[in-house]
Amino acid sequence: MGAAGSKLEKALGDQFPEGERYFGLENFGNTCYCNSVLQALYFCAPFREQLLEYYANSKNTGDAEENLLTCLADLFTQISSQKKKTGVIAPKRFVQRLKKQNELFRSYMHQDAHEFLNFLLNELVDILEKEAQAVKSEPETSSPPEKTANGPKHAQANGVSKEPLVTWVHKNFQGILTNETRCLQCETVTARDETFFDLSLDIEQNSSITSCLKNFSSTETLNAEDKFFCDKCCSLQEAQKRMKIKKPPHILVIHLKRFKYIEQLGRYKKLSYRVVFPLELKLSNTVEDADIEYSLFAVVVHVGSGPNHGHYVSLVKSHNHWLFFDDENVEMIDESAVQTFFGSTQEYSSNTDHGKHGAEVRLHLVRELFMILVSLVGCWGSRSKIANGVTGVRSSYFSDVHVCRMQVSILSHGILVGLAMISTRLPCES
């Protein structure tokens, strides 16, 4: 792929950003879910910087036991210290570690990028928390690693109420949602805070991310079998509930739920709906009128018609250029090409990927895709074509993706899900 690399270098000419490296990632058999997310994270500037900084510091302290964090940091270091500006790298150690750590990712099956990102972030947080604990309270607290998955409030571990540790991963990605429930009887409002690393949004045909976010925060009435237990009334009452964003994260990750369980089919179906996303975004449903502007910087796109197979690619913005990452291949694209990943206004004849895959689908976890919106920019979407079978996936995708690359400006019919990362304009307090 040296040729591809040099082509990219040519395309950028003297605009090739100083010190930046654009490397494709080798695919070890259905690891595109991983590659696409890694690229998005690598070009998430605050995340990369802090990871590398952390790594540099921890190296000095010696004893680096291998874990997902060190593998990731290794990989990023490896990329950023390449002599060449473009090329291909094999994220071998990272993938091996990932598979070792979580059996979910061990198979050669098609995996979900959203699940992967979520797992990765939580894993990093766990590792950082453990380290911090080890350092701080070397004596006591060999407390069981509080399964802090999304843990904001492991209020009092060991009796002592401890502030939850805020790691740099939290600082970048964590936001807080307030779940407000108003009892319709006594009017009491109960607010409960939850932390999140990403927002999973239901989507509708011909809508925008803005509209999906609005729906996410719209008021929902709890009644009938779904009543709310009001502490004040001490009984089940009808109530109104809504989710507001109390603290917007620096890097906003939005996941579009393009996979939906269709009861009649007994399986998940991919929704290729056209969902447009702007390159800048503000969250209007915040507790305070924050009017923080996010810019889209990465979109992870699922290409393919079904939840069980397909391909992931990512679009990443780096130094004002948009790049298209497809495993080993990296290409520059025009900003306007991002629009080709919005999705399709046409619905597939729903049963395209029926038959063979139907059975397999049921065995699997929900594969929802997501997008990451970092406050810089974010997008998602993709095109879909039918892959012929799990085994043939790679090659058939290949051709699909190829088409995709060649005609970026053509709205291909089917778009899938994606993940987009947006990071706040001037992220972090740095």
């Binding site: 509209s211 009128d289 306007s336 053509i410």
Partner: protein, 576 residues
């Protein structure tokens, strides 16, 4: 798009059942029911998307020179009779209706019947209807829809119910993306077409209609191969040198994208001058009387972020001027009906208003977020509508030089906006100022929304200023005054959500199955168009009333249905 052999079946019909169970063929408004009259589309299957997909835009053209008054073939009499009053060159579409002009300024057309014509400046519709001469077929006076799909321009006879266009013009190297019509053009070249390659043509519409071929005839060609785009910046030049001139494909690809035409408009009263906005943030001004071939060159733009205007060194060549407006694409332009102002909207999210003859920035402001996609003037030049990627319809006041209202109601990007100059408030009795403006917007959510802008209503003091507190300093309009005076020539930052009064739509109707790209108001109908090139024509309520001269079965049926609406016909009392 997987489409169906059958030429007559529109894509929309094939996909109609995907989302929702069919679309309604009417929608109700306070003043009555708008009814789907007919549709226009293009034969599917003939299209070539070799140059990528482009959203369809529509231009309405009234040919009047050699009118065929009585009964041109295939034209329901209803239309031809009143065509003098009907809007002329309304430019619609995604990019705003720059072409639409009003003959009078002030008061948003309080009365329907009055010449709400949109001719440009002086010359008026009235004269047109008086001419008479019979012509055959396509050659006669009439109203046409000009729209682009794929690599072709289609022309439909608006007055026939035939779905299919009467003419198609194919472009082999590029896609047409924008067009504009000037019904008062002097030397016959009344139609402008801008291509995705950056090329621009001016032609005579009548000549195209008379010709039987599928190519453009008698065209004047400007900006050949997007030549003026090549001199844009040092940077791009360097890049092209570096990559071995034209050798590198990806390089050219980018170059091309930047040259793409985005929006085109005649300068009202500009004597054959027109502006073409490009994806590189430049607007070029041409004069059709000048040579198209001799290309002017312009100096390198020193600061991409600054507005600058350069004039051609030689007075005989085209383009005559380059306006560098912004970084990133200019998505839409619109001249005020009197030709005084030019409004532009772009990728950077800014609306900018220029004094056209002085070449000066007057005012402007940023969207809430994201790019702005379209803009349109009110007839009285007091307001500008914009629509964009924040799903908002924004109302900009020229008097206050700021946003005075946000319309919330679309579930996706707003791709077309227009004031309805033919509408008059049911409450207005001609006592004076007509304070209600009706406007429409269409979006990628497939919906048409109608709005009423009542200045009284949005005057509501904003939360930040104590009611009755600050004195009004702006004269005339009572609109809000939460800020200090805004100096001329400055751009406003994005307002905060809570600072801008919100409007809700009067009507929201899903009109197509595909995302929409434009809306046009005519005297007796409203046109909506979707990106895929399907156009729907909606008759206004009580059409027959307002134009008693054209009795028509259609309008009478719509009348009959009116009672379905609550008894208050036309809703005289709504919205107190």
């Amino acid at each position: 798009m997987i489409n169906t052999s059958n030429g007559m079946i529109s894509t929309s019909s094939t996909s109609a059942n995907t989302q929702s169970p069919g679309l309604k063929t009417y929608f109700k408004t306070p003043e009555g029911r708008y009814k789907l009259h007919y549709e226009k589309t293009h034969p599917s299957g003939l299209l070539h998307y070799a140059h990528g997909k482009t959203a369809t835009q529509v231009t309405l053209a009234n040919l009047k020179d050699k009118p065929a008054p009585s009964t041109p073939t295939a034209q329901p009499s209803s239309f031809s009779a009143s065509s003098g009053v009907r809007s002329a060159a309304a430019r619609l579409l995604g990019t705003g209706n720059g072409g639409r002009a009003l003959s009078f300024v002030g008061g948003n057309g309080g009365s329907k019947g009055i010449s709400s014509t949109s001719s440009r400046i002086g010359s008026l519709g009235a004269s047109s209807s008086s001419n008479s001469m019979i012509n055959t077929n396509y050659d006669g006076k009439g109203s046409y829809l000009i729209f682009n799909v794929g690599d072709a321009i289609f022309i439909s006879d608006l007055n026939s119910q035939d779905k299919d266009p009467i003419k198609s013009i194919h472009f082999s190297n590029s896609n047409p993306v924008c067009h504009a019509f000037d019904q008062d053009a002097k030397d016959g070249h009344d139609l402008l077409i801008g291509l995705s390659s950056g090329d621009v043509y001016s032609v005579s519409l009548r000549q195209q209609l008379q010709d039987v071929g599928k190519k453009l005839v008698g065209a004047q060609h400007y900006n050949k191969d997007g030549s003026s785009g090549l001199v844009i910046t040092q940077v791009t030049k360097k890049v092209s040198e570096k990559c071995g001139i034209l050798g590198d494909v990806s390089c050219c690809k980018f170059e091309l994208k930047r040259r793409r035409c985005m929006s085109i408009a005649w300068v009202p009263g500009g004597d054959g001058a027109f502006g073409v906005a490009h994806a590189d943030g430049n607007l070029y001004v041409y004069e059709k009387s000048k040579d198209g071939a001799g290309d002017s060159s312009f100096p390198v733009i020193k600061d991409q972020s600054q507005f600058s205007v350069s004039h051609a060194r030689y007075s005989k060549s085209n383009p005559i001027a380059r306006w560098h407006i912004c970084q990133g694409s200019i998505n839409g332009i619109a001249f005020s009906t009197d030709g005084t102002y030019l409004a532009t909207v772009g990728r950077d999210g800014y609306l900018r208003v220029f004094d056209y003859s002085k070449e000066q920035l007057i005012c402007g402001g940023k969207s809430y977020y994201g790019a702005l996609l379209c803009c349109a003037w009110s007839m009285d030049v007091k307001y500008i509508l914009t629509g964009g990627e924040d799903d908002l319809v924004q109302v900009w006041s020229m008097e206050d030089r700021k946003v005075v209202a946000w319309g919330e109601g679309h579930n996706s990007w707003v791709s077309g906006v227009a004031f309805d100059s033919y509408w008059s408030s049911p409450n207005s009795d001609g006592t004076g100022e007509n304070v209600v403006y009706r406007f429409g917007s269409v979006g990628q959510d497939t919906q048409l929304l109608l709005w009423d802008l009542e200045m009284d209503e949005i005057v509501v003091p904003l939360r930040r200023c104590p009611p009755g507190g600050s004195p009004t300093f702006s004269t005339g309009s009572q609109s809000s005054h939460w800020d200090s005076v805004i100096p001329v020539g400055t751009l406003q930052p994005a307002p905060s959500m809570r600072d801008v009064p919100k409007l809700s739509p009067v009507v929201a109707h899903r009109v197509h199955t595909e995302p929409l790209s434009g809306v046009v108001f005519r005297q007796e109908s409203v046109l909506t168009v979707c990106r895929e090139g399907h156009i729907k024509i909606w008759m206004r309520p009580g059409t027959s009333e307002s134009q008693s001269s054209n009795s028509e079965t259609i309008s009478s049926t719509s009348l009959r249905e009116k009672p379905l609406l609550s008894s208050k016909t036309g809703s005289s009392a709504y919205k107190q």
